[in-house]
Amino acid sequence: MSVPEQKIQSEFEPKIIAILCNWCSYTGADLAGTARIQYPPNVRIIRVMCSGSVDPLYMIKPILDGGDAVLVGG
């Protein structure tokens, strides 16, 4: 997917939707928070109980709605 040109010219801040599994990657993000490791606010996390339950729709919809990337962790 090509990134619009004006986005590259201005300081590009991607909007990343992360769909994370409750038992591993979400716990990992939580642990990072507990350890006071900071991550940029570009990542917006959505917790699911299992990454196997992620519908393809969950990945396509944010991109159609203007998001830049979807990360599924699990």
Binding site: K15, I17, N22, W23, R44, I46, V48, M49, C50, S51, G52, S53, D55, L57, Y58, K61, P62, D65, G66, G67
Partner: protein
């Protein structure tokens, strides 16, 4: 006495904990009844941990001979007429020792009880790599299983001394009382649910459930959720090919709404 016989090798890598302690106890008893008896303990590592270390020291003081051997160079046992002859290389003398024995005791390791496999499948509880039952969390929930209302203690869990078994049994009993002392059970809110219109009754969710919370209704051919047993793990939702299974709090509309909100 030969320690670690058939233990702490590639097949059974764990230590059975009680054998060193029993060997030292038996050696002291023999020395008490017959101080002239020659007692040899062939070992790889002596682990009479905790306060039992004093018995080990006492055994050495009373003349029980401890000879070390390695996994690569194990003692050899041969028949010598009516008796047994044990050959071992002493690593300190760097010489071969030949021991003619009146009695040879092998400290064979503890193995999980027969039927542990079948039991673990019946109750859907997990086993560890050595074939013993696995607790939910080594430090936070040491006598609980992952499923509610099931507890473990003693040799079902791992080889251990009788004191440890008793302490663990007390803990398991008290954990069970915390459940029994309640009038009502509170279950989680985010349990799974099934849309009966979409369910094909394939039974995949029944297999996926680690807690026995899913059953197939034989009459309607629709999978059902036993809310009290459901731990809200989401495994059945992931396994459902027809999308009939949803989890409360994580329903499709709710997740789509979250996606919308995070994208704005």
């Amino acid at each position: 006495m030969i320690q670690c016989a058939g233990s702490r090798n590639s097949e059974r890598p764990y230590c059975s904990r009680i054998c060193c302690y029993s060997a030292v106890k038996n050696a002291l008893k023999i020395k008490e009844q017959n101080p002239g008896a020659n007692v040899f303990i062939l070992y790889r590592d002596v682990r009479t941990y905790g306060f039992y270390e004093t018995y080990y020291a006492e055994a050495r003081k009373k003349g029980v001979v401890f000879v070390r051997y390695t996994l690569e160079e194990q003692p050899k046992v041969e028949a010598n007429g009516e008796k047994l002859k044990v050959t071992i290389t002493d690593p300190i003398l760097k010489r071969e020792l030949q021991l003619d024995t009146d009695l040879l005791a092998l400290s064979t390791g503890i193995i999980p009880a027969a039927g542990t496999d079948a039991l673990s499948q019946t109750f859907k509880v997990s086993l560890n790599a050595d074939g013993y039952f696995l607790e939910a969390h080594m430090k936070l929930r040491p006598v609980d299983f992952a499923a509610d209302g099931l507890y473990l203690c003693g040799l079902a869990h791992s080889p251990k001394l009788i004191e440890e078994s008793i302490a663990q049994a007390n803990a398991a009993a008290v954990r069970a009382v915390t459940l029994l002392s309640k009038d009502k059970l509170e279950s989680l809110g985010n349990v799974a649910m099934v849309n009966p219109k979409w369910c094909k009754g394939c039974g995949l969710c029944v297999e996926a459930c680690a807690y026995g919370a899913r059953v197939l209704n034989e009459q309607t051919r629709v999978a059902e959720v036993l809310d009290v047993l459901c731990q809200g793990c989401g495994a059945c939702v992931a396994s459902c090919p027809s999308g009939a299974c949803q989890q409360k709090g994580f329903e499709k509309e709710q997740i789509l709404a979250m996606l919308d909100a995070s994208n704005s």
